[in-house]
Subunit: 285 residues, 2 copies
């Protein structure tokens, strides 16, 4: 367990070989996109991206628990006036590798990167690809319920007579609506579109996503005491969030600079979280 709650320096494809099988409950990562982050990853070319990634996702598959989930935040870049196809090719190849492509969430970025081009609009969304090893996996939907929409808020305050009894539907495939069940309920389940702002304040790290994003998925797919891996930890957001939520983390990055930054951020949060967490493993950063 000496890898738990640590930020490890190196290429995740190699580092992960030292971890045992099925020791990770969830993987959340935002890998360097093709031809981005040239300084730190050498700018993998779109044409080589799929092979580059597959060599690492093979290790992800091995270390992930059978009921665990891999959430991959990615967006293909524009090349030559076209959306590049390496992401959708990656999906097909990962299925060959043994992954199930369970779902594709959309991250709708509220304040996306500004700009104007003659032939396209600003790109305000990214993919969050959900992969699993089995059809049955851990999912804690109640943890991410959202406030109910306008419909019920107004109506439920004064519930009417007919709403109280279930009106059995006689229409072909109709739904019976039992409104009375909603009394006292102020939350509903979300959809597969998550709508969050990007973080604009930090200019030190490039591929930064808001804490809300990993937070949402960590709450959805893990319990307290589980272990979350981010093989491209970058500035450390996934580890910080995992720690805040009482999960163990494992962070890996090829850049020494990023590792240092991530370690600083998690150490800062640690002290107040060491008390009363079952399954939380002590470890330096």
């Amino acid at each position: 367990m000496e890898f738990v709650n640590k930020i490890l320096h190196g290429d995740c494809g190699e580092i992960l070989q030292s971890l045992p099988d099925e020791c990770i409950d969830m993987i959340f990562t935002s890998p360097p996109y093709a031809d981005q982050r040239k300084r730190t990853y050498g700018g993998i070319k779109p044409a080589e991206y799929v092979e580059w990634f597959l060599a690492r996702s093979e290790q992800f598959l091995r270390v992930l628990s059978p009921t665990g989930t891999f959430v991959l935040n990615i967006k293909e870049r524009v090349a030559n006036g076209e959306r590049h196809t390496y992401v959708i090719e990656l999906i097909l190849r990962m299925r060959d590798q043994g992954w199930l492509w369970t779902e594709e969430f959309i991250w709708h970025k509220k304040n996306c990167y500004p700009g104007k081009w003659p032939n396209r609009f600003r790109d305000s969304w990214e993919r969050l690809l959900q992969f699993n090893k089995q059809r049955k996996f851990n999912m804690y939907q109640e943890a991410v319920m959202v406030p109910v929409g306008g419909w019920a808020r107004d109506r439920l305050s004064n519930l009417s007579e007919t709403d109280r009894s279930r009106d059995e539907s006689r229409v072909g495939s109709g739904f019976g609506k039992n409104v009375s069940r909603w009394v006292g309920r102020d939350k509903v389940y979300p959809t597969n579109v998550v709508h969050m702002a990007t973080e604009c304040s930090n200019r030190n790290h490039s591929a930064a996503f808001p804490e809300d994003l990993p937070s949402w998925f960590i709450n959805l797919f893990t319990e307290s005491g589980d272990t979350v891996l981010d093989p491209f930890i970058g500035s450390g957001t996934t580890a910080v969030v995992a720690q805040k939520l009482g999960r163990n983390y494992v962070g890996i990055d090829i850049s020494q600079e990023f590792c240092d930054m991530a370690r600083e951020r998690v150490v800062w949060v640690m002290p107040r979280l060491l008390e009363g967490r079952e399954g939380y493993v002590e470890g330096g950063s």
Copy 2:
């Protein structure tokens, strides 16, 4: 030109063979999704879907003008606990066929189908795939700029609170909402996420998509007098909208019933549009 402003009955793969090359300025369509609409289309199986579609998109490619755009509204279904891959395979195959995959817009449906399952949330988005024949194509961005209305000013005053918890569902017919950027401006360009409700309570016809959806893309990619093709016209929404916007339309459907419905709807709107439209070609429905 005897095909212009008509609803044609038959399989679009065959019907289109009688049209000349490059006679269409834009194609907007929502084809039958795999294994859906069994009554009218016979429910194409996911495994056969790509080949089925490619036989038709070959004709789309031929009749589309070099500066024209093809917008394809589609979403893959879940099969065996996984998102099926036929849509992303189709993208790859259409590129082999000669199409450029220029962009992928997201249609975020405000009111998606209800339901609850242990392993997934409700699906509230669909793909709007943009294909072109050339890098240079017609695009009229100013036509879809979003004016800052009174409601926007209200929103700006108390921004961060409601925007954080729940997505902006009660915003008027808003697409590309980027509220913070609207300060001090009259109009802004939208993004590649469009946010509209499905129309659910029209008793006479149940359109798969709201009129706002084709309307937005027709404004974006055509001018008055251009010709818009929908090879799977269904209840006729694309044709109705094209007509309203002063564009010519060509609608095709394999179902006689849908053709009749579409003809009725376009005839109804026609009389007030015949005046003062350059390039508008008279023709029955």
